[in-house]
């Protein structure tokens, strides 16, 4: 099953100019649990999906909002030369094809 079939929201945004945060929000407990248990959402797997070194990606469950937060460094500081996404609002695309 694909992540997008389970998640209500898949979004990305800066958390300050050096960090990127991706939020996965689910409508119900079952979908949240299923996503959280998937090996595809383990930190190492997400790091590989984003082409990042092992150990540089955090995956944080947030049960109060039935949400999973992914945190990683931005590749380029927001607005620096060569940046492609100043707000970091379009860095969720790899997750849209993710198979859980």
């Amino acid at each position: 099953m694909k992540l997008v079939e389970l998640a209500r929201t898949v979004r990305s945004k800066n958390a300050g100019p050096l960090k990127l945060t991706l939020d996965l929000l689910f409508d119900d407990e079952a979908a949240y649990r299923r996503a959280l248990q998937s090996p595809a959402l383990e930190p190492g797997a997400v790091a590989r999906l984003y082409g990042r070194p092992e150990g540089t990606v955090e995956v944080l469950p947030y049960p109060a909002a039935l949400a999973v937060k992914i945190v990683m460094d931005r590749l380029v500081v927001s607005g620096d030369l060569g940046d492609r996404d100043v707000y970091g609002a379009q860095q969720h695309a790899p997750l849209l094809d993710l198979e859980l």
């Binding site: 947030y62 937060k69 030369l81 860095q91």
Partner: protein, 464 residues
């Protein structure tokens, strides 16, 4: 009697029920009129609005320019000033003019004075500066009291000197000082979003956990609702809990939508660091009162042992010129990476004959990897691509010369298998090269430990 004196007079009642109107999460882009009117009809005890952010990038802090259009900004300010004066309640605005440094604050204050004059509004105005003294920050660096945020390098004295503007984020303390001086309207430079809304509760002696949590949520107006939006939001702080209600009847504050908002733009949603302490969100509870309102309780607040200030600085890196063009030729699209590398080399040879290689020329190819750094091109290739060329050079003329040469040699570059010998790219308009103005980058994003916050953020009072 000032607006804030009237609140303090009623402090016993207000500690049990205090109504805050979050008018805008980014003042200057327009406030939805009907929801603002609905909010004012609810007789709020104060109005707050955030006017800036670090999100739009380093340009605004560096240049001193506003991100919002002057006419729209003036309209928004006019509506809030009129409303606050009519209800005779405090109006608090943080991060004036998009980035909150001296030029942003001064431009905002000039508008406020002008509106007051034109409308015949009379009030006491407090302004709070957020520009950091460079010798003071250098001294803090020397005594080891400045630490990088995230992966920023250590701060050095050159960074401090070079930053076009250097600001610190003020906290609740600064707004409280302004209110204690009987200000009816507070216009602050760079400020924590929470401080705008936490100051009145702090002054009245409300519990800081719920007050700070409320402030954290309503600084984004109705973004915590489903569907999220920019409409004003009303929060009622009732001792150890608060109730959220959007002023747009279509937007519902649900337990889930409010809880999820804690994650927004936060790398650690459980701990929100403020100058005066840390807000603990994990213990919060969210209960729906009805289908449009949610009650929130249980957030904790730990006062800091040493106050801290987040520093932000932005430095000029050069002048920017851009080139806009596209292609729908599959032969161009298939080889675009090589073509751009070859053209860059040709351009370098041409523009560096008598001058040093003092510029950076980069391309983003939309359709291939303009937005996300995909490891490989898509298969099949896209039908069309858009090419954004960008040059940053020491002066505008140099950046312009580089992109103009690039334009011509990209148009006519020869490559194996080329059929379109009259031109490789299409220009949407003329000229296809545009000046992008001065380019900046963040060179200060650090935390400074201080003994006292008050001397850093001076309050100035004027009676209009």
């Amino acid at each position: 009697m000032s607006a804030v004196a009237k609140l303090l007079d009623r402090r016993d009642r207000l500690r049990r029920s205090l109504k805050a109107l979050g008018a805008s999460g980014q003042l200057g882009y327009g406030i939805p009129e009907k929801s603002l009117a609905a909010g004012l009809e609810r007789a709020p005890d104060y109005i707050g609005a955030d006017m800036g952010s670090i999100d739009p990038g380093p340009y605004y802090l560096g240049s001193g320019e506003l991100a919002t259009a002057p006419a729209t900004t003036r309209t928004d300010l006019t509506r809030l000033l009129r409303a606050a004066r009519k209800l005779d309640i405090p109006l608090l605005i943080g991060t004036a003019g998009s980035a909150g440094a001296a030029p942003h604050l001064d431009k905002t204050l000039a508008m406020v004075r002008d509106i007051a004059r034109a409308d015949g509004l009379r009030f006491r105005l407090a302004s709070i500066r957020a520009d950091m003294s460079r010798p003071l920050v250098k001294e803090a660096v020397r005594s080891g009291r400045v630490t990088p945020i995230d992966s920023m390098p250590l701060l050095n004295e050159a960074d401090i000197d070079e930053a076009s503007h250097l600001v610190g984020q003020m906290g609740t303390e600064a707004f409280c000082r302004a209110l204690q001086a009987d200000a009816d309207v507070v216009i602050a430079g760079r400020a924590c979003d929470t401080a705008i809304f936490a100051a009145v509760p702090a002054l009245l002696g409300c519990a800081m956990g719920p007050a700070m949590h409320m402030a954290k949520i309503i600084e984004c107006a109705s973004l915590c609702c489903v569907p999220g939006g920019r409409d004003p939001i009303l929060a009622t702080l009732e001792g150890d809990s608060f109730v959220l209600e959007s002023m747009d009847p279509e937007r519902r504050a649900t337990a889930m939508s409010v809880a999820a908002h804690s994650l927004y733009e936060q790398s650690d949603p459980d701990h929100v660091a403020e100058p005066e302490g840390v807000l603990l969100v994990r213990s919060a509870r969210y209960e729906e009162i009805d289908d449009r309102r949610t009650r929130v309780s249980g957030a904790g607040w730990i006062p800091a042992s040493h106050p801290t200030v987040k520093l932000e600085g932005s430095v000029r890196v050069g002048e920017r010129a851009v080139l806009l063009c596209g292609s729908c030729d599959q032969r161009v699209i298939a080889r675009i990476g090589d073509i751009l590398a070859e053209v860059s080399e040709v351009v370098r040879g041409l523009v560096c004959r008598d001058e040093p290689e003092d510029y950076r020329l980069i391309f983003r190819v939309y359709g291939i990897d303009g937005v996300y750094p995909w490891p490989a091109p898509p298969s099949p290739l896209p039908r069309e691509i858009f090419i954004l060329g960008e040059c940053i050079a020491p002066i505008a003329e140099r950046a312009g010369a580089v992109v103009r040469t690039t334009k011509q040699y990209l148009l006519h570059h020869g490559f194996p298998g080329r059929l379109s010998t009259a031109g490789n790219v299409a220009f949407p308009f003329t000229p296809p090269e545009l000046s992008g103005g001065t380019a900046y980058r963040f060179n200060v994003y650090h935390i400074m430990q201080v003994d006292e916050l008050a001397p850093l953020f001076p309050v100035e009072i004027e009676d209009l």
